[in-house]
């Protein structure tokens, strides 16, 4: 296989996580904050799958697979778990934001921070 310089997939995962950190720290809108959390989960998933890649590997499923090495299978199972947990967290956060909007009337995180009444 050709050599990919400088661990490029790992750097892409780090970049995705960095952008999502920027969104989470600096944005005030709660919906954008939820989008940032989803982006961070995408970065983590990309990192996990890239961590288990073996050069020239096939999928670890024996049904009509061509000859050759197989990629590591435990990181892929962990990614599956991570995706499902991400769905659960996103659904819970969205309903929480709906409740916040119903109580305070705005999506600004500065205003909903005060928790009055």
């Amino acid at each position: 296989m050709e050599y990919i310089p400088l661990n490029f997939p790992f750097l892409a995962a780090a970049l995705l996580a960095g952008i999502s950190f920027y969104i989470i720290i600096f944005r005030k809108n709660l919906i954008k904050l939820i989008m940032g959390v989803g982006m961070m989960s995408s970065g983590v998933n990309l990192f996990l799958v890239a961590l288990g890649y073996r050069a020239g590997g096939n999928v670890p499923i024996y049904t009509d697979v061509p000859e050759g090495p197989m990629v590591l299978s435990v990181p892929q199972a962990l990614t599956l778990t991570s995706i499902v947990i991400n769905v659960a967290v996103l659904a819970l956060m969205l309903s929480m934001v709906i409740n916040v909007y119903r109580h305070t009337g705005s999506l600004d995180s500065e205003k909903s921070r005060k928790m009055k009444g």
Binding site: P60, T63, S73, V74, A88, L92
Partner: protein
């Protein structure tokens, strides 16, 4: 002031992430893979499943999947609980 503090913390986080990624093994050549080699070799005889990922999810790491199912159940219960109380609030206020 808070913006500057946030920027500094973000820069530290990104520097940490990027330096950690640069220190990893080269892409495509994972170093310790004994457990995965054992699972890939023995999954067909031990679980009878052709798909190694399915045998990892449901057999070798079944306890993990049980916790995952619990998380999904808790999230659905929480969403239904959070979105249910609308009518009562309007009546009381």
């Amino acid at each position: 002031m808070r913006k500057i503090a946030g920027l500094i913390s973000w820069l530290v986080l990104v520097a940490f992430l990027v330096s950690g990624m640069l220190l990893l093994h080269p892409f495509g050549y994972p170093t310790p893979s004994d457990m995965d080699d054992y699972i890939i070799e023995n999954a067909q005889e031990e679980t009878g499943s052709n798909s190694v990922v399915a045998s990892v999810v449901f057999d070798y790491r079944g306890f993990d999947t049980l916790g995952e199912a619990t998380i999904l159940f808790t999230a659905v219960t929480g969403v239904l609980l959070l979105l249910r109380t609308r009518k009562r609030k309007e009546e009381s206020s």
